[in-house]
């Protein structure tokens, strides 16, 4: 059976993609950020997962506002990255696992998550930056099949934090019921606090982010007491992306240990966080 061996929460700011491309991992601006990924790199190297389910949001590459699915999942053999219009160099295509995708879709729909299914899906920096962060080298990325799961955190109303946590639980069940010997990781991306638009652009909230990271393992429900509108005020409209981390957290169940955590302000306009959980049950 497939095993969900662990999960990572990570920011997905485009500037990170540029920094990796330009070899700035040890640069003084970037080192406090990238140092936080060393435990993740070591863990990935040791565990060598077969499949990554990557939870992210599209920023206007694949989806336009004409049709905005709340949750959409890829069911393709290959996912292309493409020009987003402002200069990030597209990465090579990513290999999918359509059979596993269809199993997850079937399981989710029968679990009452009516997810949008995509046989073609361009993946943008929200997807590619976490891939580069987890597996900086192309040959590493070539070893991992991917299943993109896209969440609407662009146009209100977004799914609630509670819905995200429950979707995660349903994904956990879907993985556990797949009859293939696969090691799977789930990545929840975006956040943490940041604000790109309005006079308050540049807003971050260390105190709230820190509490979020602190509670994510044992008390993920803590975030549910805030509506997405309240979160927009507290962590900035784009900081609300942290609800996607709850999908990762929900999938992992309660038998997990935290292996590492890092938090750093700023990366571009963003407070960047990373956390690594391992499933103790497998």
């Amino acid at each position: 059976m497939a095993r969900l061996i662990g999960g990572v929460g990570s920011s997905h700011v485009p500037a990170i993609g540029n920094a990796i491309e330009q070899g700035l991992i040890s640069d003084p601006y970037w080192a406090p950020f990238f140092d936080g990924y060393k435990p993740v790199w070591n863990w990935m190297e040791e565990k060598k997962p077969d499949v990554a389910i990557l939870v992210y949001n599209d920023h206007g590459l694949n989806f336009f506002l004409d049709t905005m699915p709340t949750f959409a999942i890829g069911a393709a053999a290959e996912y292309q990255n493409a020009d987003e219009g402002w200069g990030l160099k597209p990465l090579d295509p990513f290999q999918g696992d359509p059979e596993f995708s269809w199993h997850i879709i079937d399981s989710l729909i029968h679990d009452e998550f009516d997810i949008t299914m995509c046989q073609e899906m361009l993946v943008d920096h929200g997807f590619t930056v976490p891939m580069s962060l987890m597996w900086p080298k192309q040959e590493q990325r070539d070893q991992v099949k991917v299943i993109p799961l896209c969440v609407n955190v662009v146009q209100y109303p977004f799914p609630t934090a509670r819905r995200c946590l429950k979707l995660g639980e349903a994904i956990g069940k879907a993985v556990a019921s797949y009859d293939k010997d696969l090691d799977v990781v789930i990545l929840g991306t975006g956040g943490l606090s940041h604000q790109l638009d309005g006079e308050r652009a540049g807003h971050t909230n260390r105190e709230f982010d820190t509490e979020f990271l602190e509670k994510l393992k044992d008390e993920p429900e803590w975030l549910l007491k805030y509506s997405n509108y309240e979160l927009a005020e507290i962590v900035g409209p784009q900081g609300v992306e942290m609800i996607m981390w709850l999908i990762m957290r929900g999938a992992l169940g309660d038998n997990i240990r935290e292996l590492s955590r890092n938090y750093h302000i700023p990366i571009s306009n963003t407070a960047a966080g990373v956390i690594l959980f391992e499933n103790e049950a497998v």
């Binding site: 920023h59 219009g85 402002w86 638009d197 309005g198 005020e233 409209p237 784009q238 700023p266």
Partner: protein, 121 residues
């Protein structure tokens, strides 16, 4: 999540909900087209003509001309789509953050660095 109608506005903050998405539809659609290099070239060759082709309002066309991000946001632009427009003007997310906050780029960067050094940033 209940409707945002009647919610207390968040100072200095945009919330991109249905009414704004309707107001800015043409503007965001134009910006979406800038994913393709040939469309960026067509815009650069005739900015106002390209805006007209997409059915932007006079106010939106004026805000494009002035590279005024706050005005574009108020006219329904979504920040992720506007980034594709401002990218052509050589403005990245930090440039437009500074513009909106009404401070210089250096001040904007310094503010973010300062947030990294305090406990309550």
């Amino acid at each position: 999540m209940k409707s945002l109608a009647g919610k207390k506005p968040i100072p200095g903050t945009m919330v991109f909900e249905g009414r704004m998405a309707m107001k800015g539809y043409a503007l965001n659609k134009m910006c979406f087209s800038f994913n393709k290099a040939e469309n960026r070239d067509a815009f650069k060759a005739d900015e106002d003509g390209y805006c007209t082709k997409y059915g932007l309002t006079d106010e939106q066309r004026d805000a494009v001309k002035k590279r005024n991000v706050l005005a574009l946001l108020n006219l329904g632009g979504n920040i992720y789509y506007l980034a594709k427009l401002t990218g052509m003007f050589g403005l990245n997310m930090q440039d437009i953050g500074a513009q909106q906050a009404g401070i210089s780029l250096e001040e904007f960067k310094a503010k973010l660095l300062a947030a990294g050094e305090t406990k309550n940033g």
